[in-house]
């Protein structure tokens, strides 16, 4: 160190726009750190792509070719055509044909089949007489999601099949007790619903974790001590840490929607600008919540755990996994407090229904309110000292 050759220069400082300047200093720093962290950087791209492929291709909530058995108590032409019609729906694959009730029960119990169709004795005769006999369907309901689609298709498909096969002309009313689920579309592809949902889920997960780690990382690496000794305010630290990730979130949303449109043929019926705008709001809300977590916990492990604690109800109660309307009231209230719930409505409405801002006012306000709440907590929770 040659102090003699280089006397300490007096640097000019300025006071104006202090807030923006200090936030900017923080933001640049965060960007550089993100750029250096190659694993995190790769995750920004890999995570949405991987999730989308998994949900889009591997996980299908309307499964096909479910193993099934039939308990045939009469061997009639009508019974044969019903079975044929069921197999044609592609939901069922009849692996077993049994004639004994015990065998039938055992197949279901052992899990060898998920469905059992029972055609009772005298079925054809009863149909011809117009007695509306019952076509019994036993489903293994341990996976209700898997079963429901197939059950739904059952009534309608059988009915159509019968129209062609009954030689007594068109029956005036439904020949069975199984009611057709008229609203269900057997050809519905789940990716239509899943891709918009995934935009929200992936953003929740990544945004939450990125900022949840941000403050604890500084504490654990010891850099918080010197950061706190410098004249930067909690709000400035927060903005500096959130803004870079808004861009990251934007890239992710763009990727998911891009793949969804390109690969899965999901339409974007609404205004793309509105979608981008509200997505930015959602991204910022999640970043604020992550940042709040970061000011509450003591280390990075706790931050991860707490993020998961927030993420799980988000997936379960937002309407991503299960229909929102089907949840009990208390769960719906919890759901309303989660940003993902509101964003799912927004993103599905814009992409699939072409909704406008007018339709989405409530959810937009809810997101903004949640964001402000999180930011307020974060700023008040941020410790200015090491006490």
């Amino acid at each position: 160190m040659s102090a003699v050759d280089h006397p300490a220069p007096r640097h000019e400082t300025r006071e104006r726009f202090g807030f923006l300047r200090r936030s900017y200093a923080m933001l640049i720093k965060e960007f550089i750190q993100l750029k250096r962290d190659r694993v995190s950087f790769a995750m920004i791209v890999m995570l949405p792509v991987m999730q989308l492929m998994l949900f889009g291709y591997a996980i299908n909530t309307t499964p096909h070719h479910l193993p099934s058995a039939v308990l045939l108590q009469e061997d009639s032409d009508l019974a044969r055509s019903i079975l044929k019609a069921l197999e044609n729906t592609a939901y069922f694959r009849f692996l077993y044909e049994v004639h004994d009730v015990d065998d039938f029960d055992n197949l279901l119990k052992s899990g060898k089949v998920l469905f059992g169709v029972e055609i009772p004795r005298g079925f054809e005769r009863a149909v011809r007489r117009g007695d509306r006999p019952a076509l019994l369907v036993a489903a293994d309901a341990t996976d209700p999601v898997a079963a429901s689609a197939a059950i739904g298709s059952l009534g309608m498909v059988v009915q159509t099949a019968l129209k062609h096969d009954l030689y007594i002309g068109d029956p005036p009313e439904m020949p069975f007790e199984i009611r057709a689920h008229a609203r269900y579309n057997p050809a519905a592809s789940s990716s239509l619903n899943i891709v918009p949902g995934l935009v929200g889920t992936i953003l929740t997960m990544t945004m939450l974790i990125f900022t949840a780690l941000s403050v604890t990382r500084e504490v654990e690496r010891g850099t918080m001590e010197s950061l706190l000794s410098m004249p930067i305010k909690p709000v400035e630290v927060m903005f500096g840490k959130i803004v870079p990730y808004v861009l990251v979130g934007f890239v992710q949303a763009f990727l998911i929607i891009g793949i969804g449109v390109g690969l899965f043929g999901v339409p974007v019926l609404g205004n793309l600008f509105l979608l981008a705008l509200l997505s930015t709001l959602f991204i910022t809300t999640n970043l604020s919540i992550g940042y709040t977590i970061s000011t509450v916990v003591q280390n990075q492990l706790q931050a991860m755990q707490m993020s998961m604690m927030f993420f799980l109800p988000s997936i379960l109660l937002s309407g991503f996994m299960f229909p929102f309307a089907g949840m009990p009231t208390w769960a719906q209230y919890v759901g309303e407090c989660l940003p993902l719930t509101h964003y799912l409505r927004i993103v599905r409405a814009i992409m699939l229904k072409g909704a406008t801002m007018q339709n989405l006012r409530f959810d937009t306000l809810a997101l903004a309110a949640l964001m402000l709440l999180a930011m307020t907590i974060a700023v008040t929770r941020f410790r200015r000292t090491l006490d």
Binding site: M1, S2, A3, V4, H6, P7, A8, P9, R10, H11, E12, T13, R14, E15, G18, R21, R22, Y24, A25, M26, I28, K29, I32, Q33, R36, D37, R221, G222, T223, M224, E225, S226, L228, S229, M230, P231, I232, R384, T385, L386, D387
Partner: protein
């Protein structure tokens, strides 16, 4: 500028506890502007806590005072602008380069030309050619230079250095102290904590703190004079055995081997001389009265404080 009375740090009765354990007890100190003030004491004595209180990183449980004329309790934000704090553990960003770290600090303090200021500082601390190297990849000595550069960049009036030379080689330590003196000559006040006696002797004033209590302060000469310690230096054969025999005798507070000699010290001259009398007759030992070294004084203070507070 502030305070105007030539005093940079003026605090009274600082007390701080963590989880019921008092780390700093009723600490009062004054540091003159433009001076280098050495802060000495064993590990865990409260040096770091005191420094953190001074720069607003910790709030004292009780006590009051000013730092650069600002109230340490109310004006922490103003103090932060004028104070450069170099932490004990390297606390700049390891994954940022030398230049990026300095530019970050410059921007945070609102320097008009952040890039220019960073460039100049790199030259000043002799890191030219390494500006794009990540801070985490620098060696200990270079890290310490960078840290000093970062905390002097915004032209502070007061530097708080917490064991800045721990684990740094002697040449780098010498350079570092030359820089500290150059900065002080420009009017900067420096408070530096250290374990090294040679560094203590390069300070204008020193304070000795143990178990949260400030035990002695003043110039090196004053501290030695005030200790009222009498020291005899012994040379000769069988010093190890002698040390064992002398330890614990009345009037002998401390026996410390120094290479080929032994320092025997005590506060009460009469008792000390009475205790060593039998050995002074021995022909293979050579005794002479000497003034205690700073280290003798500190070790004696440390031993005494243990009796009082533990």
């Amino acid at each position: 500028m502030n305070g105007g009375n030539g005093i940079a740090i003026d605090v009274k009765g600082l007390t701080k506890s963590f989880g019921g354990r008092e780390v700093v007890h009723d600490l009062s100190m004054q540091v003159k502007r433009g001076s280098i003030y050495g802060f000495l004491g064993p590990n865990g004595s409260g040096k770091t806590t005191t420094i953190r209180i001074l720069c607003g990183l910790l709030t004292p449980d009780s006590g009051e005072g000013t730092c650069l004329g600002y109230d340490i309790l109310r004006d922490a934000e103003k103090i932060k602008r004028q104070v450069g704090y170099m932490t004990q553990r390297f606390s700049l960003y390891q994954d940022l380069s030398v230049r990026e770290n300095l530019e970050f600090v410059a921007r945070l303090y609102g320097l008009v030309d952040a890039r220019g200021a960073a460039r100049e500082m790199i030259k000043r601390i002799g890191l030219s050619g390494r500006e794009e190297q990540l801070a985490g990849e620098l060696s200990g000595g270079w890290k310490q230079r960078l840290a000093l550069g970062a905390c002097t960049l915004p032209n502070p009036q007061l530097l708080l250095l917490d064991e800045p030379t721990a684990g740094v080689d002697p040449k780098a330590r010498r350079d570092f102290w030359n820089e500290i003196h150059a900065l002080a000559a420009e009017g900067l006040t420096v408070l530096v904590s250290t374990h090294y006696m040679d560094e203590a002797e390069r300070c204008h004033e020193i304070a000795y703190i143990a178990y949260g209590h400030l035990l002695a302060h003043g110039t090196v000469e004053e501290v030695i004079a005030k200790s009222a310690l009498t020291t005899y230096t012994v040379t000769g054969e069988g010093l190890n055995a002698l040390a064992a025999e002398l330890t614990g005798k009345p009037g002998i507070d401390m026996v410390a081997p120094f290479g080929t000699s032994l320092h025997v010290s005590g506060r009460e001259v009469a008792a000390l001389e009475a205790s060593i009398a039998p050995w002074r007759e021995r022909s293979d030992l050579h005794w002479h009265k000497s003034s205690p070294s700073l280290e003798d004084v500190f070790i004696e203070l440390m031993g005494r404080s243990k009796d009082n507070f533990q």
